[in-house]
């Protein structure tokens, strides 16, 4: 079949996903992370095994409820992170996952963001289980628009889903539609996230 909606690399990982968690395999994890919501159509679970001497990810497994790009992006991420130190793995960005995959349709990008979020949740879970609570990095969201209660994370998500202008950001998040105080800060963040993910 030709003219597929995704790249060959996405297709390859979609058809033959790597490192899927199987109940009967007996995989014992040191950390487990679950993000997303089935109601929204995407959920992801990441399980990691940590080599405690080297402080690296020795192996991992995952499961996802989601579309082809969610399956492919998690599969490719699971290959990328093996052998990474926990610090390196924690820093993996959606941009790096996309680069590894070739590309994804713009409206699909929010799916691959879940992969790295699930991974960070799994790493934090490992820190918690092994008593290294000081290392846990919380993804604390900062409220930018006080009126509509919109956070910086939501702005980042909106950018990943295609918002490029302040108007498009407003359409997606309703940010700045009441008092408008947050406009300057939101525009700076918007530019920053576009730079971070797309330039």
């Amino acid at each position: 079949m030709n003219d597929w909606v995704y790249t060959e690399k996405v297709k390859e990982h979609f058809v033959h996903p790597k490192n899927i968690f199987k109940e009967d395999e007996g995989f014992v994890s040191d950390g487990e992370g679950m993000v997303g919501n089935i109601k929204c159509g995407d959920q992801m679970m990441m399980l990691i095994q940590v080599d405690k001497d080297k402080n690296i990810i020795a192996d991992c497994r995952w499961k996802t409820y989601g579309c082809a790009s969610a399956i492919a992006s998690t599969s490719v991420l699971s290959e990328m992170i093996k052998g990474m130190t926990l610090t390196q793995a924690f820093a993996v960005t959606p941009k790096e996952i996309m680069k590894e995959l070739g590309s994804l349709p713009e409206h699909k990008i929010h799916c691959s963001v879940l992969g790295d979020k699930a991974l960070r949740a799994a790493i934090n879970d490992y820190y918690e289980k092994s008593g290294m609570t000081d290392k846990i990095k919380k993804e604390e969201a900062k409220i930018i628009c006080q009126c509509m209660n919109v956070t910086d994370h939501e702005i980042e998500d909106a950018v990943l889903e295609g918002a490029r202008t302040y108007l498009e950001l407003q359409e997606r998040t309703k940010l700045g539609t009441v008092c408008g105080e947050c406009k300057d800060e939101a525009e700076k963040l918007l530019a920053g996230y576009i730079q971070k993910h797309f330039n």
């Binding site: 058809v15 968690f21 109601k39 996802t64 409820y65 579309c67």
Partner: protein, 392 residues
């Protein structure tokens, strides 16, 4: 070549071979039906004959047929006409404009109605029950408050549920409202007589019944005033400007002629095939739910939700095995929300994301169904095996 099974006839259909032949011939007929010379007169003759043939298929007369570019255009025309703010326009200005429609309409009605609401028109969306039948009690209450137009689709494109249009239309008329039905999925699949139903407007489209794309028709009852959506031409008695799409019109006419011949036998055949498909899925796959009305449903439409299996992934795995279906999952549509039709019938968002529509047609065979029943369980199993939302 590997097997190809097309089960997406509600999206569009392949050309009927007879229609294809007519289209090839029609390409020679290039004249403008408005021209007085021989070339024009020849084209006009074809268009006039086609108009009569199409009209008679639904019990109308030729002058009641307005050719348009698509079913979407026909539906946009009706809603915008009733909502036209000009005080010189139409005869619909007895009271404040109020449009009553349903929560399961095709986006070309649903989104148009929402847009009109944003422009200040009073619009009400009626609920449906779990089978997709509209809540006539609620409709009655709403109509008691008055309405200008009631628009209810005849058969739903996603779940196939067929409404009791005659009764609903009667209710609308009793309340002094005009009645429109989007019958794009129904014309050529179930018998329709506009005189019996008494509808004021009815939308039909060629490409859902093995005709060409880009041509549809709007039935407009003779006595009803009309306000064009596309202006600036005398064509279609001033109701729709633009040189007639003679090629499309002749294709639509032939498609309708073939429906006249094939509709009844095909209906029976598709019902039987769908029953085999449904039974097979129920037997081979656990944790499913069949959506739509068990009896009042289009013969070829089967909508099923698979717990824990996201629809776009299912669609693409099936595509790789040569099977074409569609899904109510948000992922496939580019939006974040799953099918508004399934949500309106009370299917939860979770199941709606895992829903699949299989729509059979005149080219669907028993072998096709057998092949789907061989592949689908395997695909659902694969998707579920990597799903966070499914446990055996």
């Amino acid at each position: 070549m590997s097997q190809k099974v097309y089960l997406d006839h509600n999206a569009t259909t392949p050309l009927h071979p007879e229609v294809k032949n007519v289209l090839i011939e029609a390409m020679e007929c290039f004249g403008n039906p408005s021209s007085l010379h021989e070339f024009g007169r020849k084209a006009l003759k074809f268009v006039t004959q086609a108009r009569e043939d199409i009209a008679s298929f639904i019990g109308a007369t030729g002058e009641e047929i307005v050719f348009v570019g698509s079913g979407s255009e026909a539906n946009n025309t009706v809603l915008n006409m009733v909502a036209c703010p000009s005080k010189h326009c139409c005869a619909f200005k007895k009271g404040p404009t109020r449009i009553v429609t349903t929560k399961i309409e095709h986006p070309c009605v649903f989104e148009t109605a929402k847009c009109l609401r944003d422009r200040g028109i009073d619009v009400v969306f009626i609920d449906v029950d779990k089978y997709g039948k509209i809540d006539t009690k609620q409709l009655q209450d709403i109509l008691a408050e008055g309405a200008s137009l009631v628009s209810v689709m005849m058969a739903n494109n996603e779940i196939g549920t067929i409404q009791d249009i005659k009764t609903i239309c009667g209710m609308a008329h009793k309340a002094g409202a005009l009645f429109h039905t989007d019958a794009v999925q129904a014309v050529g699949k179930i018998p329709i007589d506009v005189r019996v139903l008494d509808v004021d407007f009815l939308t039909l489209s060629a490409h859902k019944v093995y005709g060409p794309k880009g041509i549809g028709a709007l039935y407009t009852k003779k006595s009803i005033p009309f306000c064009p959506f596309i202006r600036g031409g005398h064509q279609e008695k001033g109701r729709r400007a633009g040189t007639e799409n003679t090629l499309g019109i002749m294709g639509l006419s032939k498609a309708i002629e073939m429906r006249r011949k094939e509709m009844v036998t095909e209906d029976k055949r598709l019902k039987d095939l769908k029953a085999i498909l449904k039974k097979g899925i129920e037997e081979k796959i656990l944790d499913i739910q069949v959506n739509g009305h068990p009896d009042d449903c289009l013969a070829g439409t089967l909508n099923v939700s698979f717990k824990g299996a996201e629809g776009e992934a299912v669609l693409l795995y099936l595509d790789m095995e040569g099977i074409a279906i569609s899904t109510g999952s948000a992922c496939a549509s580019g939006s974040l929300d799953p099918s508004h039709v399934l949500l309106a019938t009370g299917v939860g968002a979770e199941l709606a994301h895992g829903s699949v529509r299989m729509s059979l047609g005149r080219d669907t065979t028993k072998e096709d169904i057998a092949y789907v029943l061989e592949v689908l369980p395997r695909v659902i199993d694969k998707v579920r095996s990597m799903s966070t939302a499914y446990k055996k």
